[in-house]
Amino acid sequence: MTAQSGAAFGRFGLRGGSNMKAIEFCGVSFRYDEESPFAIHKLDFSVEEGEFVAVLGHNGSGKSTLARLSNGLLEADEGEIRVFGTQIARKNLYDVRKNVGVVFQNPDNQTVATIVEDDVAFGAENLGLAREEIGERIRFALQAVGMQQYRTAAVARLSGGQKQRVAIAGVLALKPRAVILDEATAMLDPRGRREIVEVVSRLNREEKITVIMITHFMEEALLADRAVVMNRGEIVMQGAPADIFERQEELITYNLAMPRIGYICNRLRAGGLPVANTLDSETLAEEIARCVS
């Protein structure tokens, strides 16, 4: 299946050149109205093509605004946003959105049709593609998210995780080069969350799609190449996820909790047990066993 979906991508000519910034913010500011504070303030931020970036931050820190600015759902008040080298402007919004797809939080709000294949086709139909081409894209997109056997199923009868995968397929049918997940796992149960995270990591790894994952779940952020922490519309921390999670004091000042496992490591060390920092439960068990015996 992997090889096939790779081939499908090749046919669509989706593998872009490297060394290009997928998304680039230069001094971007945005606020929802004149009186309110800036939701995004003088932000410089970029994502390399093929990168997997996790964006963390408490509610209201500007994460979702960042997502909406990135595909032109919102227009920046100040600064420039470039998507794969092209500056977002009113006249090229459609092209930008073809390149950057967004998946939102609520699985029930993102489906427009009653049958899975109709739903996946919606975006592609809007592009005015040929019928055969659309059929091909549906096949590829459903395969990429592991939902090919549900092609003619009723959307309403799917689980939350399956609906989100259909939503992702709908975005993939536009053959985007970047996908942004705006808390796309927040309303799912643990199984649904795993499904989405697996699909997204695979798309990033195998299809080289750039992924920006906005999430409250620290464990999900661990899978990313880079984690970015936002606070009051600014980026306040960034680096490898494991490094970010070591900076507990700082995370707390931004109203973020570190993963429970990091907290346990710190407390054990403070209590005099010299365990090494880890974010893996098996490694920590090994560490504790080493220290107490």
Partner: protein, 320 residues
């Protein structure tokens, strides 16, 4: 109010190609005063069970059109479902379901989506007026709204006149909870109360629930996917799986059976994973799976600096 359910079964779309058995002969007792957790996959029957508790799903025998089944020759009648909440018999047609719903508050998933009124006060007052006997005076209503908002940590004078839609996500959820507890229910049922909030918001909601449990509602029942949340907060938890209750135990005992839970495709709390990992390395840790207790029990095992020498036995674990 003690909740007793016996032989509870429920099928969606019965006698149709879409028939789906959601509950299969479920028996479960929840004692008054518990902080009870309900865990299980989507589709395991959790919500169906919970919706029985305030009569949103009615037992067949409580419906007007119900006719007693007749025993077939040679076959005994299947056991009849029993469901009581305090003194309410939910199998009885004569039960006052309005009074029941006043006593069993139900907070659904993402309750902030159900806010509807123009001001916070009107939104919270809605349930109170709806359930009041007779027409409450403005003073009575305001007093009830004031108390409910105070209970969820919102100042009446600041918020009463605001539109609920202008509040932050966490505040909206508080208003929605206030709109349920305003009838002073004895049992409060919440479906995924912390879902979709950031880590800080989650902690605040759980603290709020403990406060409500202490001061406002005798019994709190929480449906959750977050095993850490269950381990930290609940007196007991029931595991639903494919329409049956696989176990109903205190977290201390439940998460000792980590392997069984994993086999059901459920997560276990981090502390349980760590305990299982330690067990495999020959270290039995007797903890109740809260983070604090786990840390304490591990540190008790830590060799003291003075006697840390090769081959020294770790001190005996467990607390007195």
């Amino acid at each position: 109010m003690r909740i007793v359910a016996e032989h509870l079964s429920y099928t969606y779309n019965p006698k149709s190609p879409f028939a789906a058995a959601a509950l299969k002969d479920v028996s479960l007792t929840i004692e008054e005063g518990e902080f009870f957790g309900i865990i299980g996959h989507t589709g395991s029957g959790k919500s169906t069970f919970v919706q029985h508790l305030n009569g949103l799903i009615r037992l067949p025998s409580s419906l007007k059109r119900y006719k007693k089944p007749k025993a077939k020759k040679g076959q005994p009648l299947p056991p009849q479902p029993v469901l009581t909440v305090g003194t309410f018999d939910l199998a009885d047609k004569k039960t006052d379901f309005r009074a029941l719903r006043k006593s069993v508050g139900m907070v659904f998933q993402y309750p902030e989506y159900q806010l509807f009124a123009e001001t916070v006060r009107d939104d919270v007052a809605f349930g109170f007026k709806n359930f009041a006997d007779g027409k409450p005076t403005k003073e009575e209503t305001d007093a009830a709204v004031r108390a409910a908002l105070a209970a969820v940590g919102l100042d009446y004078d600041t918020y009463a006149e605001q539109s609920p839609f202008d509040l932050s996500g966490g505040q909206k959820r508080r208003v929605a909870i206030a709109g349920v507890i305003v009838t002073r229910p004895e049992v409060l049922v919440l479906d995924e109360p912390a879902a979709g909030l950031d880590p800080l918001g989650k902690r605040e909601v759980m603290e709020l629930l403990h406060k409500l449990h202490r001061e406002w509602c005798k019994t709190v029942i929480v449906v959750s996917h977050d095993m850490d949340e269950i381990a930290e907060n609940c007196t007991r938890a029931a595991v639903f799986s494919e329409g049956t209750v696989a176990a109903a135990l205190p977290p201390r005992e439940l998460f000792r059976r980590a392997d069984e839970l994993t086999a059901l495709g459920l997560d276990v709390p981090l502390t349980a994973k760590l305990c299982a990992g330690l067990m495999r390395r020959g270290i039995a840790l007797d903890c109740d799976f809260t983070t604090e207790d786990f840390i304490r029990k591990v540190l008790e095992r830590a060799p003291r600096r003075a006697d840390r020498e090769p081959g020294a036995l770790p001190p005996e674990g467990g607390e007195a």
